[in-house]
Subunit: 128 residues, 2 copies
Amino acid sequence: MAPKKWWTSKEEEALKAGVKEYKAGNWKDILKDPRFASILANRTNIDLKDKWRNLNGGGCVSAGRRKASTSRPPDKRIVPKYVQVQDNDLEYLKYIEDPNGTDLDTMMNFLKVRIYILLFCICFHWFV
Amino acid sequence: MAPKKWWTSKEEEALKAGVKEYKAGNWKDILKDPRFASILANRTNIDLKDKWRNLNGGGCVSAGRRKASTSRPPDKRIVPKYVQVQDNDLEYLKYIEDPNGTDLDTMMNFLKVRIYILLFCICFHWFV
DNA sequence: CACTAGGGCTAGGGTTCG
DNA sequence: TCGAACCCTAGCCCTAGT
């Protein structure tokens, strides 16, 4: 088995746009489109098919049918090893590219930059 | 939820022998082996995997899949809806009580307090 | 050989129950 | 509360059919 390559939002959006353009099933056509080729460079037509299946509830691709989702609603509970992103946190994260989430290190770097800018503004204000 | 079927010693020994033969991760191969098939008749490959995980303290299970490593490296991966806590992030989080993690809002409030303290120290230093 | 549909498999986090 | 057993699903693989 190859190590899992998790789909990024960018890839997911490219796939959705590709399906909108070429319809589901024409995976190779999507891959060959120059608009999506670079984004989906390390995805195969099989990968596209599998991802589309997952996006549609794991059922079959053309006629979706699947039992009701049993997934837990995104409440405020403590999540071991993970920090859950709440809706009201989006304000803090809106400048981070991936809307689906990001690793904490990236977020921390983002916050550091914000702090440095804030400090610079304060210093500038006091000097002039 | 299905009623729990507790593992017998015989099943456990068969699982261990199967892992010795086929390496952990090849659960279906173990089930198909005639030496173990009858003993593990009412266990699925998922059951084998889960049991092996329990036998090994809940950690990583598959050390020898036939084709390649399937385990995803635990670094920097993008996690939709979740922000993974990295080892080098513990520095930021060590003052938060819950060792298992916390929701992002709590962490953000913690960071805000740290920033206010920092600003106060700077102001104090400049005034005196 | 190239491509797609669909079933099957594993890993790993989550959930339930004793 | 804790852990064994079970559930859920993303991503990948395998095979049949065209």
